[in-house]
Symmetry: D2
């Protein structure tokens, strides 16, 4: 039986996307009579009917390639139901493309936003299977998303390099790690990089407690402090004055690390610097771990197609590759629980969370 | 309450040993009044009373350091009970050192052999806690040992580099991955590196089936073949003739990959080469993943000391750091089950296991 | 004959400092009866008499270590002659420390500022030998400074990673490379990373010419553009209005890359993003190239001490390690000549310099 | 004026081949009306008329790619003039292909063997330009060949990793670095990796002198020894007995490092191990340095075509990209002079060459 499969990648790019695409394709070609249609630039391509018929050789040699050969874009879920000035019903358009292409199913690789739209399409009757990618690891129902461990390698390497400068200059270095809502990447790379302070969105910090650590270390024979601070980490006080202040600092170009460095320099009187590695955390070849995980996820998706299981997203639970209903996962963020074992571990070796 | 802790590292060195030692030490110093004694070169130091009192600063800056600051050696378990020419009862010597140092417990970092001796010492009444390190990942009771993922990164990088030569020359490259009994490292790096054939000790291979894959690829427009072969991978036929042949080939300096390359060159008529990365798979700075895992393992050991739990070895189960009785783990190897999900995954994308 | 050698590292830290220190020390210990005094935190330590007597083992194991074991600081040359509120003549203080320590010579590792002060001290009669370190490669008289090639590796790796995101999202990525006055690092990493546009301080750019390249690529099937822009790269127009604008943008937190991204987004209408890898370009273990060069430089300094040659700085000319008079080098910056062969090479493969 | 350019890569693959090919192609397309013909698998393709017409897009995205997109093979120079059983005059065949393709010139990327054949073709009246690639750096007339510095990075990384094991186990590790006749790679990576002993083909060693170093270190508090030994490094004694012995050991599967380890283990009584990283030294993405050099070499070749300069090979002299007559370079190997400055440098820090 011939099966036509549409694949798209949506949201921010992430190491392992191509490895997962290759996993789906190779397993599909091995297991059944597959035809694969590459949808361009995420949901935009599905809305606009922008796609190409793929051939087997296009999936060769992409295991190690960063980014996504299909292109990606951010089409926020909140806009999916909005009929804009152009009077276009995006969901209807997507269904139309799906039907027009005579697809038997659609594979969507993405994070939280992608999964919300995937669930919407499933509710509309399309055969959808999700694959959880994001360097933030904040997708509910899976222990790890692919991309996370590669980003952790990169962020840890950044912290390693910054250690040289921090120690040589006796400075306080504030390294800003990706993650607006979830602190997983900051927590892991902070522990792996030997940070002294880890600040994550889930645990609002007290600047004076952070300043205390910096001061104590500045006065010790160490002299320097390494702070891993998530993009979305926030000061404890939530008073109105602070809120304005926060808005003001963002407007003035202050990221979470720049704000922190400025505060610490003023409060403690040490040299404090901010480093924002930014997009490099999501680029380049996937790590060995992520290539394995992406491949497993992709192959499991193909197995689900073979078995006619749709409306689900692939997941890692313990050591097993399995899947969850899209409806259970869509729109649910997985944040770091403040009593998570790694938080306890970190505290046990003297790492401060600024609380 | 003051607690005196002995630490030793035994068996082959492995990335993450220092990170784990640091984890134990930092958590112990944070949590209670700890004194740490570094036993030199594994059980040899315990037998001979070769050790040094450690200070807090000695555990600083070692998170990223490969190898082990305590030194290591291989003192096979089978010799532990043997009273040699020197008329020395090694177990009695170890107990004597332990008592003489007034230790409250002994932390042993090692693999299967180390754990057998650790269990023996526990049976003799010492307070022992094991930490599972090995790049082979073949320790029963833990999902992963530390060191494994770093070795996987290195082995995968090796396969990546060999791809260049294989593709440019249209060759069959046989890359020998560490693992005499267990094929975990070969399986993972083979999948991560995009190998065409994966040969592991748990699945004896048929040389003709391997030759067939090489031939098919040589005749396709790919032209080259990548084979990840474990040190301990073996030919299917177990006839006497073959056995002698195998002994003969080892004696002639043929490793598993060299033997394989020779066979394939003769059978298929392609250029086949063997690459033996060897010790580089176990050296250098631990990966971000292994630094986290080693730290977690080390900290958990300190928590067990605090809680007075002994006769156990630390373990990862799913996402939880926990522990198993030494008696359950000692002497039990964790091999790759032939129906393991990753084997199925690999087969689903067309990877041959030569069976 | 016993010789007492003072060593200090000054200015921003840089990969290879420890390798060079080790080179000096090992060669000195091998060649003559050496005593080595480590001056702490650059000229600050020399001014304040902050130092420690070193032993041979302290130079072991530091070949691969980033940063500097001696610490560093920035004590601007312009302040050296200024007698501050504390009524301290810094030059006199440094001479006093030198005499008090009974040094036979002083080795100073640093960049342009460091060499100016080194020359000053040489003019005051001290036996000074300079070692040229800087990731900027802007020191006159040497083909390469150590640190530069490691920084080039890191910056190139950053550009590689950003390629993934640029290509996947069809974006214009502006990557800010260190270098306020000299564009060497941007030029090399731009060519190595496959940048489409390279903007350096030595060649003021025309934003409309850059916009044109971005537009042309956005409309081609590539879709994305990679721009390597030096920290100190500047717009061509130097009108007063622009000057205020530039001051205003710096005040508003706009770095050269952020400003560029903003302009291009407005002018071309593409998604443009800025990435500022910052301090990671100067941290971590030196590359193989820089370990060799640092060692050669360090050993040559020891040879100069042996031979009684002072008032010079070590240099690479072609393939030879040699030295220049400090007086010729101090205060002379080596900028990229606009007709440099690499500029021509870059233009020949279609790279735009925005001019 | 239209110009048709044939390109081929010959000999062992090497990082930077694709970067150089891209450099030729991009510059040629930019500078004149170019048509490029890719000759497959080196001179074999030229002999057999195996080639393909290339398009511009085929040179895109290959800057970072290891190996060669054109394929390569080893067709020894000594066979070029031999008319075999097939009664084929290979040189005549190559000329015929060149003429048949109406080429205006032929670019050959390769090492010493490649250049000998290139010179032969030039003498036969073809317009040939050579590009010097080899990880051995043994090509006369150029300071560096591309590929060398990448191989140096890899070999140095190998030595770094082996350091962990050596130090942890107190072993003598003999690391075999590529280079049968020339010791450049062993010398550079030995210095960069902090080797204690460096053995190169140009300086025959005395096993007893090496044993002495190993013994002295084994008895010191270091305990371990790192030896970088070239593939082609040889024992000093050249007596007939030894010669047979050497032949015998090769036949028995002993590489230079395995032989050395065996000897040292017997003579000194330490644990000695051999590591043979092999082909990984020539694979994978080129380093930043080599991407720049390859690009410069490629672009210079295109400039030479534009200017009608043939019968030359591109070269780096000091900081200048230039060229030499093929007739001067062909067949001349560049070995390490025993009084080379780096040898002196290495000796000055106590590295032994076993002499």
């Amino acid at each position: 039986m011939r099966r036509r499969i549409g694949i798209l990648t949506s949201g921010g790019d992430c190491p392992g996307l191509n490895a997962a695409i290759r996993g789906v394709a190779r397993a599909a070609y091995e297991m059944f009579d597959a035809e694969i249609v590459g949808i361009h630039d995420g949901y935009r391509g599905l809305i606009e009917g922008d796609y190409s018929e793929m051939t087997r050789s296009q999936f060769s040699g992409i295991l190690t390639l960063g980014g996504t050969i299909l292109g990606t874009s951010r089409t926020p879920f909140r806009n999916m139901r909005v009929i804009g000035d152009d009077n276009v019903d995006k969901v209807a358009m997507m269904k139309k493309t799906y039907k027009g292409l005579q697809l038997d199913c659609l594979i969507t690789l993405g994070g939280n936003g992608t999964h919300k739209t995937a669930n919407l399409l499933a509710q509309e009757g399309l055969n959808v299977i999700g694959l959880p990618k994001t360097i933030d690891n904040d997708l509910y129902g899976t222990d790890f998303t692919f991309g996370f461990h590669t980003a952790n390698d990169i962020a840890t390497d950044v912290i390693d390099r910054i250690h040289s400068t921090a120690a040589s200059h006796g400075r306080c270095m504030c390294i800003e790690i990706m993650g607006n809502k979830a602190g997983w990447l900051t927590l892991y790379s902070g522990v792996a990089g030997g940070a002294d302070v880890i600040l994550i969105p889930e645990i609002p910090y007290d600047i004076d407690k952070v300043a205390e650590v910096v001061k104590r270390r500045a006065e010790s024979n160490k002299g320097f402090t390494i702070i891993a601070v998530a993009e979305g980490a926030m000061d404890k006080d939530e008073s109105k004055l602070k809120k304005k202040e926060r808005e003001a600092r963002r407007a003035a170009g202050f990221s979470s690390s720049a704000y922190l460095a400025k505060q610490l320099q003023e409060k403690v009187g040490v040299e404090a610097r901010s480093v924002v590695p930014g997009h490099i955390q999501r680029g380049g070849t996937p790590s060995a771990y992520d290539r394995v995980l992406s491949t497993e996820f992709g192959v499991h998706a193909a197995e689900l197609i073979r078995d006619g299981v749709f409306g689900v997203t692939v997941a890692l639970k313990g050591n097993e590759i399995t899947h969850n209903p899209l409806s259970e996962v869509a729109g649910v963020a997985k944040l770091v629980p403040p009593d998570h074992q790694m938080i306890t571990t970190a505290r046990d070796i003297g790492i401060s969370f600024g609380d």
